[in-house]
Symmetry: C2
Subunit: 193 residues, 2 copies
């Protein structure tokens, strides 16, 4: 039994390294991104790494770009596919509240905002999401400026939610309490229907 992620492919590509890097970031944070650790996890040595990347920073950069491009589209597209605009907010909230995995990289990156490479990426991603939220609020019937402010507020609540509930494990809510909280959130952050 191979201990973990030892894919039995003999040779690796740059993309394999980037994916592995994102996995490691999601699990242990950006600080834990070391080339020898990654190499061990992939079942090879550093010799391989420095063929694909000039430096450790280059890997981080590439992994972040990969995440920014491919990891984001999904949620937004799926939400946009919902016909009734008023149904989009509730569905969005439900996803965020109950699906943990898609947010792990984002949460990990949130803890690495001291690193100069991740700040611009997070700024772009957050900006884009806020714009998307604004759009959804507008389609739900709000005027332009309130929609923008509401989007900012909702997104801030999302970010704080990640920190408090996921990474901090804070409220230690029971299942019912949690659902009640999500319902409350939905009620106060959704335009009065």
């Amino acid at each position: 039994m191979n201990d973990s992620a030892k894919t039995d492919r003999i040779r690796l590509s740059a993309e394999d390294w980037e994916d592995a890097a994102l996995g490691l970031i999601a699990e242990q944070g950006v600080g834990a991104l070391a080339v020898e650790a990654l190499a061990r996890q992939l079942g090879v040595t550093k010799g391989s790494f420095y063929w694909h990347f000039r430096t450790r920073e280059a890997l981080l950069q590439a992994a972040l770009e990969r995440w920014e491009q491919y990891g984001e589209r999904e949620v937004i597209d799926q939400i946009k596919a919902i016909a009734d605009p008023r149904e989009r907010l509730p569905e969005l909230f439900r996803r965020v509240a109950h699906e943990r995995d898609p947010h792990r990289v984002y949460a990990a990156l949130l803890k690495a905002l001291d690193h100069p490479l991740v700040v611009p990426v997070m700024a772009r991603v957050s900006q884009r999401r806020i714009e998307f939220l604004t759009e959804v609020y507008r389609e739900a019937g709000m005027a332009a400026r309130p929609a923008l402010n509401q989007a900012r507020l909702t997104y801030a609540a999302y970010v704080g939610f990640l920190q408090l509930n996921f990474t901090l494990g804070l409220p230690r809510l029971s299942h019912d309490e949690f659902d009640e909280y999500v319902a409350h959130m939905l009620a106060t952050l959704t335009p009065q229907s």
Copy 2:
């Protein structure tokens, strides 16, 4: 002109080191807390450090305890001193929105939630603040359960606000836009008066 924080006291105490550590954490994050860097900043060498602390972790621990004990009381006490309970929320919001310094350590600690020492501290502090917020909401006229959920939501919005506006510098709002956002926040997170 001494370049920065070179206090002209000849000899240092453990508290001096803890304060300097908190300052460094606020400016550059927990990861930048290195004993030789701190020693340079204080104008001494490691020899001094290891007289006061057994290890680097011990300093972090002590600094965090110091922050948890002394750095928090202030805001809560000042808010509690406001006579009219309905005035407390707006004042609290104003403070958070416009005073940057008191939140710098908290924001820095938010980016260090991968470190095992800071998680319990942040959990306790956040928990206490949420309880305080719940109290304020109750005094403003809300029932028990809604007040609790509202407090959680408001605090999540606060945490996200820190990340997006302060550390990410995200919305790049003008002064007026910013005030408008704060007003919006206040309007939707304050019980209907």
